[in-house]
């Protein structure tokens, strides 16, 4: 499958017919709705909140945000959506969604005053920030403006969950490290990793509030989320942990043991590469 973000910028790719196709495909609707519910469960909202939807498109996620509890935890929420595609917003308008809509490019920033939102959600949009069409815009600059703007517009203790489709590991790293640089506590969660339907969620927290100043506290408390901690990297310079390496295996085994699972005893062979015998 070709990646749409490799062919055209989103405002051109999602033209009228493409937008209609996207929003009327029941398969896409189903996937989008599942991902929105997953993102909402990671946000753990307990009361009606003000939510920013980045790349709101035709309002598929928004309709879920506007639904009452218990369908939507803590709902109904009030949401504000941003999208760069006028065609997508036109479909949202036709559906008379309840959120306010903005024609805006998240790569140019987030034009709301500090502490506006309780939470933010983004479904299948952030990877679009990685393509820059003109010479005066770099993907790094667009990501940095976006995450800095998002960080500023969230309340202390607020959370954001961005599901996105990374093109490769490099892009995944580029996006998550841009979020950490903006000040977020960040973690990555992958559902169905390694399969065709793999989903990547970037879980972001803003320090302060009840978090006791530990920006990674909330993220590390969420089941299955791998914390991206920029500070730890500095401390452990020189013995970087490679996924699948010995240190990584030892740590995973420790984690499993703590959970009461039976793990094999460590030996000098733990984490070693086996020679393949033919």
């Amino acid at each position: 499958m070709s990646r749409p973000e490799d062919t055209l910028p989103p405002d051109l790719f999602y033209n009228d017919s493409e937008s209609r196709k996207y929003t009327t495909s029941s398969r896409i609707q189903h996937i989008q709705s599942n991902m929105t519910h997953r993102a909402l469960s990671l946000l753990s909202l307990t009361h009606p909140s003000l939510i920013l939807d980045i790349g709101c498109g035709s309002g598929l996620s928004g309709e879920i945000l506007s639904s009452p509890d218990p369908d939507t935890p803590g709902g109904p929420h009030i949401w504000i959506g941003m999208d760069i595609s006028a065609s997508m917003l036109a479909v949202a308008l036709e559906k008379e969604v309840e959120g306010d809509l903005f024609l805006a490019d998240a790569g140019q920033g987030v034009p709301f005053r500090p502490g506006t939102f309780d939470a933010a959600i983004s479904i299948s949009a952030v990877q679009w920030l990685c393509n820059a069409e003109t010479s005066d815009e770099s993907p790094a600059g667009r990501l940095s403006r976006f995450f800095a703007g998002l960080y500023g517009s969230l309340r202390r203790g607020g959370r954001a969950v961005c599901q996105f489709y990374p093109k490769n590991d490099e892009q995944k790293k580029m996006i998550s490290s841009a979020a950490v640089r903006a000040g977020f506590g960040a973690g990555l969660l992958e559902d169905d990793p390694g399969t065709k339907s793999a989903k990547t969620y970037l879980v972001l927290t803003v320090g302060g509030g009840q978090l006791d100043g530990d920006i990674t506290g909330v993220v590390s408390g969420i089941e299955g989320v791998d914390v991206i901690d920029s500070r730890r990297k500095h401390r452990e310079k020189g013995r970087r942990e490679v996924k699948g390496g010995k240190a990584w295996i030892m740590r995973k085994k420790e984690q499993m043991e703590r959970k009461g699972k039976v793990v094999k005893a460590n030996s000098k062979y733990t984490g070693r590469k086996r020679n393949i015998a033919f």
């Binding site: 003000l50 760069i84 306010d100 024609l103 005053r113 815009e137």
Partner: protein
């Protein structure tokens, strides 16, 4: 666009970021529309402490809406006491008390009064953001980002 949203919106230009005059944006040639919405008391309880009252006063006056008091009303005056302290002490599930007139007025102003079309003008740089069919265009030409 809801009046509530306008109370959080700033100019998107980098040069206006820390400028006090870049907030609130000023509506011009605005056509208003009332869109009925269900009262969401808990949402208002959550969001009202974040509303900049002075900016709200300025905007409502510019839109020719009934003028607001000089200072923001106290939460006790907006939310019936029964749903706060009293409910916590009483062991019974609180009967939903009737919303105060003040709460209904704030709901009507913030969530039901919307800008259908017109412009939003930055008080610092003068940039005009067009609003059409309720959607504000915040796309900036790249030299203004």
């Amino acid at each position: 666009m809801k009046i509530l949203t306008l109370n959080f919106l700033t100019c998107a230009r980098k040069a206006c970021k820390a400028e006090p005059a870049a907030f609130p944006l000023h509506p011009r040639d605005a056509e208003l529309e009332i869109v009925e919405a269900e009262l969401n008391t808990e949402f208002l309880r959550n969001v009202l402490p974040r509303v900049e009252w002075e900016a709200l006063r300025v905007v409502t006056e510019e839109l020719g809406l009934p003028s607001l008091p000089n200072v923001a009303p106290e939460p006790d005056a907006i939310f019936p006491a029964a749903s706060t302290a009293a409910a916590a002490t009483a062991n019974e599930t609180p009967a939903n008390p009737a919303p105060t007139q003040l709460l209904q007025d704030l709901h009507h102003l913030l969530l039901e009064t919307t800008i259908l079309s017109g412009k939003l003008v930055c008080g610092n740089c003068g940039h005009e953001y067009a609003v059409k069919e309720g959607i504000a265009n915040f796309l900036l030409p790249s030299h203004l980002v």
